[in-house]
Symmetry: C2
Subunit: 391 residues, 2 copies
């Protein structure tokens, strides 16, 4: 089936006239198209939005995770705990930068990791813990940070799917030592399809990130008489805790940065609208027991994605019915990372994560982009109702 | 001096109404904002433009160089020859991926490396040669490829500054095994400030690049009954010559890809206009002997940058006079890489490259963006005339 009436991968959201005009205006009049004033403004705006000190725009969230992995300064034997139920980018950058991955299981009800599951994975070698706030739901950050502190482990929040979400009245991304955000096409705000942020809570990390992001470029510390001598700018190896880190080029263009600042003004509204829709959708399917949703009517969930657990081994049957009879394309996420040939071929194919297996094998992810109209969403809901009534 | 009448870093070019409308239209109507049809179309268009088989859009040219370095599959002891007179991204990705850098000198007249200089650096350990076509001038690719073949070395063309330029009637980027292009803010075509391409000449490389670029994602080889089983897509370690390569996320968004396709239609025209202006500029400064330009009135030079050698140790004096008396900001490029703390701290601070030293110490780079008006360019030319007449 090539053409679905409701494909799974719709654009997350449309752009307002003001957002389009902003881009048009900058295409005409911006003095610089990269590494300029709009990046600085975005970083200030983002820190203010989040309630943090140090934010840095990057080309995508994987780039942010690569830098997060670098900031960990892994040494031989260091371990990083990552739930096996997540997108691959939450995991592979840490392998790439020298850590051993220890797979954590998830909480079956929430679909995200919790302190109890993480605690089982802690060892004296644990250097960092990665916490992906999947689907838009905020993990138990208070307990997780407490556990990490007691074990001197860094906490890296993967907030790619959960911008604006709050736990204990605090926005996600402010709990961990490092947090990453995504402005990818599918996220609740997108900077023309690709983009991201890395946020850190301390100056040591903040000092080194600009060099990690932009080819090792740095300013001269000395006063110079001539701006071109000894050279236009300096170039040094980013150093952290005595470790040489390699630079990268992870820059995000000015137009995308300016657009992010603009979108930041309404991402909370998008979150509210998605949550309202999700609650209505879930409540509208109350008279059935085949699908169990994770219903959270608070700022702790932005319903980036709308997913359900299907009981009785009926998941595949339901997806087929929705696809063939209604043209609705559902998805299934996230394949336990240890099942992929990628992780198997690097010795990470074994894991005991029963919840991860069960969650994946019975989960259903429903098309739920903000760009879908109310009637499209209702069409999907009604179709699901018909399908569950008939199986 | 904060505000120059003519700063050095102007935008390379403005956008036409058609280009702006294209972006606006996609912001309104694109079905997907990344990894879609516009990327595929751009890659087809780019291969056709260049006369090659395999082109892949990436987020910037450094990312392309990182992948180029990965494709070399360096083993212990392998060397890569890089001219020390280039932007740092032509060099550091190769270090990062395990090669030892051997600094080549440049030809003093052209400012780029040639076969004679490269030959001095060849050893039995040489795995690859990096050839940056700096300033928009095409290096002697016929001789360089011959030398590389005789020594079984890969050739990597860094065409960041020289898109559309021809040597021996063939476009740059079609000579080497791998070539990289930049769509950065300062280049003759820019995809909203950041962007790039990697081009390869063989299927072995082409097969692995999509996985290197996009997190190791790949399609299932088997026919599948259900699109979501075993998972929505597969994930494997990119393999080349028995070597495991790490994936990255170097994707370029759809709007930027579509814009690149559109810009490709007029980049030759931009090149022609810049060359015409450069020749007029150079010829308009004929009655002086202080500045020597590299005058090439053919498709072998696109005058991405307009640079001169200043004789008599007068370079800094001229820059000061232009800055303070006329508000014209010149630049000085490229600081010999071995002089930077970055390369010194990784044991690459020593080199015998007299031309590289001399070229840098006496060079002047004149503001020359396509976005400058004819009268701004004439203002710069006349100012230089006055300054050289007075010193």
């Amino acid at each position: 089936m090539a053409d679905y009436r409701i494909p799974f991968s719709n654009r997350s959201h449309l752009y307002t006239d003001a957002e389009i005009d902003l881009v048009t205006g900058l295409m005409r009049n911006a003095k610089s198209l990269t590494q300029g004033v709009h990046q600085q403004t975005l970083e200030t705006n983002f820190s203010e939005y989040l309630g943090t000190n140090y934010s840095f725009a990057v080309c995508n969230a994987t780039a942010a995770l690569e830098m997060a992995a670098q900031l960990c300064c892994f040494e031989d034997g260091h371990e990083v705990i990552v739930p096996a139920h997540t997108f691959t980018s939450s995991a592979y950058p840490f392998l790439k930068h020298g850590a051993k991955i220890v797979w954590a299981d998830i909480n079956l009800e929430t679909g995200v990791v919790d302190a109890a599951e993480l605690e089982k994975c802690i060892s004296r070698q644990t250097k960092a813990i990665v916490v992906p706030h999947l689907y838009g739901y905020g993990a138990d950050m208070v307990e997780i940070v407490e556990l990490a502190k007691a074990n001197k482990a860094l906490v890296i929040e993967d907030v790619a799917q959960a911008i604006g979400v709050k736990v204990a009245e605090r926005k996600l991304g402010t709990f961990g030592d490092i947090a990453v955000f995504s402005f990818h096409d599918q996220k609740n705000m997108t900077t023309l399809g690709e983009g991201g942020m890395i946020v850190v809570n301390n100056e040591r990390f903040a000092d080194v990130i600009p060099m990690l992001r932009h080819n090792g470029h740095c300013n001269y510390e000395m006063e110079r008489e001539d701006y071109w001598l000894p050279a236009m700018g300096d170039l040094a190896v980013p150093m952290l805790e005595g470790t040489h880190l390699w630079p990268n080029n992870f820059c995000l263009g000015e137009i995308q940065c300016a657009l992010a600042s603009e979108l930041l003004k309404r991402v909370d509204q998008i979150n509210v609208e998605k949550r309202k829709r999700a609650i209505k959708f879930i409540d509208g399917l109350r008279n059935q027991s085949l699908l169990q949703f994770h219903r959270v009517n608070s700022e702790r969930h932005n319903y980036h994605l709308l997913v359900a657990q299907v009981s009785g081994g009926r998941r595949d049957q339901i997806i087929r019915a929705l696809a063939y009879n209604y043209g609705i394309q559902c998805a299934v996420q996230y394949y336990p990372l240890y099942r992929y040939p990628f992780y198997q071929s690097v010795g990470l194919g074994d894991a005991f994560c029963p919840n991860t297996d069960l969650f994946f094998d019975s989960m259903l992810s429903i098309p739920f982009a903000h760009s879908l109209t109310d009637s499209q969403i209702e069409f999907v809901r009604a179709a699901i109702q018909e399908v569950v009534d008939s199986v």
